[in-house]
Amino acid sequence: MDAEPGLSDQYRMASPWPVFVALGIPIAELGIIFGLFPLSVGGLLLFGGSAAGMAFESGYAKTPWRGLFGVAVPLAALGAAFVFTAIDLPDRGIAIAAAAAILAAAGIAGTLFSPTEAPEY
């Protein structure tokens, strides 16, 4: 948490992430209920990315990239559950899994290529 100047370093009582975490959830829910692939994926990305950013900002994750894995893994599990269990909603499951994959990919890319720069999308 050293060379990452940002809003939350300067302003102790502000964080840009919560709004987007909160926005990601309804978008994802809408997408999943109505079977709108782009909304599901986009909402989950917004949610996952922001949650990771927040976890990093508040010190729960060492790097934002690790936070992304932290979100991607449960999402992947959820997606798999949608596809393979009695829930049996493969389209939605794939959307969730896709979001998980993108988040994980971003995490990998981040770890490999840009160890210093923060915002991931």
Partner: protein, 593 residues
């Protein structure tokens, strides 16, 4: 959905995400950008903000300060109160005359559904969260909530929730408002049959409700953690204030009740969209009622406990003495918390359930009336022979007690099976719970808004307008809802857009009462906004003269400190440029209380 639509959505979503990312990147690199002046969209002077928060709108979007979040909750709750209130005004006008055709029956049902949900979930819960967020950390000597960011998330889930809940009223193609009533009984809400409730508007409403539940749950976890772990050194269980106690209990109730509602709604969404049959058939309908009311009854106590806390907190300050039997109030709050989970089926006495179970639910419902009554006696005894100062917040507290008695007594009657079988689903029930939700919960909200007005605005409201607000609300509430109780005795069923001619007079009385309420609330808004912007500034941290009676509390002390640091030029408190400002409620004092 056809390919084109998908494509368009994908592009839109992508653009949106890119925009968000760009904005975040900019904001997160804002070290170079130094705001010129503090101060946000609200009129309050920032004595603390400028180095800790950015300025302008960004400040409100990014804040994780419990006080700011409290203000946001408050603004949100009052907005929802206005929306829900205007909805019901339209309904009451429709009910002036049985032949009235201002709105269609379906639109009436839509308004009714939205009114209930808006008032309970978008006004009630958030306005309580407003007080809790602002005050609990101050009262218990914490720097902030235990999880400030979660706190912000919990708030920001609410605006989307409101949009989804009201989605049917927006001009969206093929989306109509839900008409399920707030109880969302199946099979209607499952979209079965020939009705129009298979519409996506109901799904959107359920999603919105689900979000508000997630929000409430996050908030409750935060409050529990805060009250357990963040108390100041001197704040022990033995001297925790009553408002924090009620918030703690309420949070416990939320923690057990809302996730259940959330799960039940997900099941309902599955029934509606993915062909499951959790709530199909007769058994399914009863299952829904059990799940709903297992949440629903605790919900009414979730809504009433913190207002009871506010009243228990404010009454002593204007009675010149401490709360009578403080610990009785604490323990009975906890008792209500536990017992509220044991009475849910008193909403289902008429469903034909096994009489043995029904009897048990009746017994627990009678038992839960005791702790509520105990509190009532404590409030009355506190005022008894006290030096009562009838300031506006105090008036609202007294109104609370009065209305709560009527609401509570009618509730005990409803809890008796034979009486309920006669009165169930009549206006009596509507009268009962409005005496509590409007007459008590909203009144306590107003009491709090007036009492702490100097704390969060730094200014004083206008006394005369405050009193006018109180009296119009008090008379309006009693006219409206007592008429409803009488209507119920007469057999007028609830949830209809019209009625038989013999009910006309009482319905007209109720409508007149509702219009009185409307006028009162308009005065409130005027007073609130104008005083916030240009009311006389409060000069010291004791606007209610609590120090004299030894009833000064931590939140005012915090405010006092804040004033002292802000006025570094040494404006002492005792030279009191305008004594009436600080004059906590001499009744004959002209300027304000």
């Amino acid at each position: 959905m056809e390919v084109n639509g998908q494509l368009a959505l994908t592009v839109l979503m992508g653009l949106f995400l890119v925009a968000v990312a760009a904005w975040l990147a900019r904001v997160e690199n804002w070290r170079s950008y130094t705001p010129v002046a503090g101060g946000g969209a609200f009129g309050q002077k920032e004595s603390y903000g400028s180095e800790e928060k950015p300025s302008g709108v960004i400040r409100w979007l990014t804040t994780v300060d419990h006080k700011d979040i409290g203000i946001l909750y408050g603004a949100y709750g009052l907005t929802a109160f206005a929306v829900g209130g205007l909805m019901v005004v339209v309904m009451r006008i429709e009910l002036i005359d049985p032949g009235m055709s201002l709105i269609s029956n379906t639109f009436y049902n839509s308004l009714m559904t939205s009114h209930g949900i808006t008032m309970l979930f978008l006004f009630g819960t958030p306005i309580i969260a407003a007080f809790a967020n602002y005050l609990v950390p101050l009262l218990i000597g914490a720097d902030d909530m235990a999880f400030p960011r979660i706190n912000a998330i919990a708030f920001w889930l609410l605006p989307p929730a409101a949009l989804l809940i009201w989605a049917g009223f927006f001009p969206l193609p093929n989306v109509i408002p839900a008409q399920t009533a707030w109880t969302m009984y199946t099979p209607l809400s499952a979209g079965a049959g020939a009705g129009n409730q298979a519409n996506a508007g109901v799904d959107l409403m359920l999603l919105g409700l689900h979000l508000s539940g997630v929000s409430a749950t996050m908030g409750s976890i935060n409050f529990i953690a805060t009250i357990f772990t963040e108390r100041g050194d001197d704040v022990s269980w033995a001297n925790l204030d009553i408002f924090s106690w009620t918030i703690l209990t309420q949070s416990g109730l939320i923690l057990f009740a809302f996730p259940l509602l959330g799960s039940a709604m997900v099941m309902l969404l599955f029934d509606r969209n993915f062909g499951t049959t959790f709530f199909a058939g007769e058994g399914g309908a009863i299952l829904w009622q059990h799940l709903f009311w297992f949440f629903g009854h605790p919900e009414v106590y979730i809504l009433v406990l913190p207002p009871m806390g506010i009243v228990s907190y404010v009454i002593p300050r204007f009675s010149g003495r401490r709360l009578f039997g403080f610990k009785f109030v604490v323990y009975s709050t906890l008792a209500i918390g536990v017992l509220s989970f044991g009475v849910w089926a008193h909403h289902m006495f008429a469903t034909g359930m096994d009489p043995r179970l029904r009897a048990s639910f009746m017994a627990v419902s009678l038992a839960i009336a005791i702790p509520s009554a105990v509190k009532t006696f404590n409030w009355i005894t506190t005022m008894w022979n006290g030096r009562v100062r009838l300031t506006t917040p105090m008036l609202f507290c007294v109104g609370f007690v009065s209305n709560f008695i009527i609401g509570g007594v009618t509730g005990v009657f409803l809890a008796s099976i034979p009486i309920d079988l006669v009165l169930h689903d009549t206006y009596y029930v509507v009268g009962h719970f409005h005496y509590i939700v409007m007459g008590a919960i909203a009144f306590a909200g107003f009491a709090g808004l007036y009492y702490w007005f100097p704390l969060y605005t730094g200014r004083m409201y206008q006394k005369t307008l405050g009193k006018a607000h109180f009296w119009l609300s008090m008379i309006g509430t009693n006219v409206t809802f007592f008429a409803m109780i009488l209507l119920g005795y007469g057999g007028m069923p609830r949830r209809y857009a019209t009625f038989l001619p013999q009910f006309a007079t009482l319905h007209q009385v109720a409508t007149v009462g509702a219009l009185l309420l409307l006028i009162g609330q308009i005065i409130f808004v005027w007073n609130f906004v104008q005083s916030w912007l240009e009311g006389p500034e409060v000069e010291d941290g004791d606007p209610w003269n609590l120090r004299d009676s030894g009833l000064y509390t931590a939140e005012w002390d915090w405010y006092d400190k804040k004033l002292e640091t802000a006025i570094a030029d040494g404006g002492e408190t005792d030279d009191a440029a305008e004594p009436m400002l600080t004059d906590g409620g001499d009744v004959d004092d002209a300027a304000d209380e």
